[in-house]
Subunit: 203 residues, 4 copies
């Protein structure tokens, strides 16, 4: 296999990239200046050494000085009463940008698909229990399950809820994000479940 | 202008229909059997006589026997404490289908666009005040403003809220539908306002 | 069934219209001024009487004074050597607008789907043979088969080609529209058949 | 800037990739096994050394043994009478796959936008003249201009046509790909230029 084809093969494994775009990526690299290409290769080679999972929340962060905790978990000024469990790393930036949440996070690492319940073994359920117990000693009062509003997300919430009830910490409340009309919703196109929640949560 | 072109012109005025689809509609009519065509023409000619606005909620309903009220306003068993104000007729069926609301409705007849506040004169603001005062005597406790979650919808809610405060009925609560994650929402793509409401309304 | 629902039912039969848009059409009619509504109903009731199929080409035209031929078939100055067979009425306007064709037309009335060859009985094959023989006496030299470039269109071309060979007129050439790159085509996305034809027809 | 952000920045420069997908790429790399990551980094670092432009046609090819010509230019059995000028590398695979062309290629390296004619200096116009003169001695009879069918493509064809007329080789024909209906075209939606060419090229 040529170097060209080998690179195409690598890029085809990138999320959302098909053969044609993979080829375009290689053409792009061929026209880059050599210095920039070298920098990209080095960055890729180094990324796993320089970016690591936080020992508490499991999101990726840049380990610059032997830190084992990310800047959020390291920040003692955040609200110790709240822990939000999300599906994946990329769920965190929009919440931080909203500026309304100041508790801690935990990245579960995926969902438990409704039709493949055995997938739960790939998730960080055990670690979550440990972290919840640890944070309980620091004042944790509520775990917020922040999953997608679809069957897999709801199944994951059930799974995590059950899991957390197995801990010794009986006083921790388990909540889920509120449902209702989201920005841009039009009543005419809303589904019954959303209408039901929008009515129930009216203010 | 030929009969063909005249029909095309009529259909071009239908909501969402361009010249090409308008022509298709005419070709469709040309291949219909004459009896069905006659029935369509009659139904169109009669629709304004047979379908009329309800004297209370202003939605359209089939007037079969001199009724001035639609079947919802005519139903004394519904919840007299609730009145939901919607933008247009077509907002009502999804709410009825959700099976969770059993109060009455009021069709405002449009929105007050943020940039064209003078549009409020086209709406049924005066009639709404009258209906609210009438229903207050029958036990009305809450008016639910059920508009789209966008700038025009929110502006309309402000307008209607102010309007209702002008009535004598000070004990009527004015509420809006709850906001949060709607069915199908993914956290990663949620906007700050939706995240904020989802957090606030967590349960 | 109410008048409203009856109209919805009619509009749902319009090409490309689903239940929701059908309802919108009825709401639109309810807000039209009564005179315009009356005019629409009359136009629909009259359209089949006022618009009729041309006795030669079978396209629809406005019969204002007992004419049996449309304005194209009636125009003796067009090119008697050419007859173009199209699938449906709506194929003719773009060709006329191109300003490059001055022969006559014949509307076949559909295609012969590759998987349902028996559908050919719904088409105007017999009439086409008659018209071709009639026009042969007036100098017809070529029949152009102008169907869509897809399996059904190509199957229809085969069917019509065979049909025309059954006539007595052996000197009439049967042609199909040229293939190649159409406006907006990019080489990178072209299919092999198009590339093949583009190369063969290079100029 | 962290290693993570630096990689995001690199990927954002990839064609068609926005910030969100760039971040996904980095998450993908973080979960790859280290060996595969190393291989990707090496392939990127090496690609410019291992893949080079063909000295004749300028497309990229894998230089495994000091070759200066790609496998097509190196193949003496191809048709020496034909040279096809394309805009970019990625135009060649679909033509090769069509299996109908056996001449040589020349990658111009871009287009001359109608509104920025000075862009022609970025193209390989001079090299094309040299190659045409060289191939003329080997029997070149026709240069096929194979550009996109849009204003920029047509402008580029004019530019290259003028350029080639400046060479000494007066006997070389200059052609462009044939136009007409491409696969999937429907007459009703065809533009006048395509209809005109489809009629002119009818067969």
């Amino acid at each position: 296999m040529t170097s060209f084809d080998e690179l195409v093969r690598h890029f085809e494994r990138f999320p959302g990239i098909g053969p044609r775009q993979a080829r375009r990526f290689v053409y792009h690299l061929l026209t880059e200046d050599p210095q920039s290409l070298r920098a990209l290769a080095d960055a890729i080679a180094d990324v796993q050494a320089k970016v690591t999972e936080c020992a508490h929340c499991f999101r990726y962060f840049a380990r610059d000085n032997g830190n084992t905790l990310c800047e959020i978990c390291n920040d003692a000024n955040r609200n110790h009463e709240l822990l939000m469990v999300v599906e994946r790393d990329s769920d965190i930036p929009p919440i931080e940008r909203s500026g309304i949440y100041d508790g801690y996070y935990f990245v579960l690492g995926g969902t438990v698909p409704l039709l493949e319940p055995q997938e739960n073994i790939k998730l960080r359920g055990g670690a979550l229990k440990g972290i919840a117990e640890m944070r309980a000693k620091e004042g944790l009062a509520e775990v917020i399950l922040a999953f997608s509003v679809n069957p897999d997300g709801e199944n994951t919430a059930r799974y995590v809820g059950t899991l957390l009830k197995e801990t010794e910490e009986k006083n921790i409340k388990i909540s889920t994000l509120g449902r209702g009309l989201s920005t841009g919703s039009e009543l005419e196109y809303a589904d019954p479940e959303t209408i039901k929640n929008a009515l129930k949560n009216r203010t």
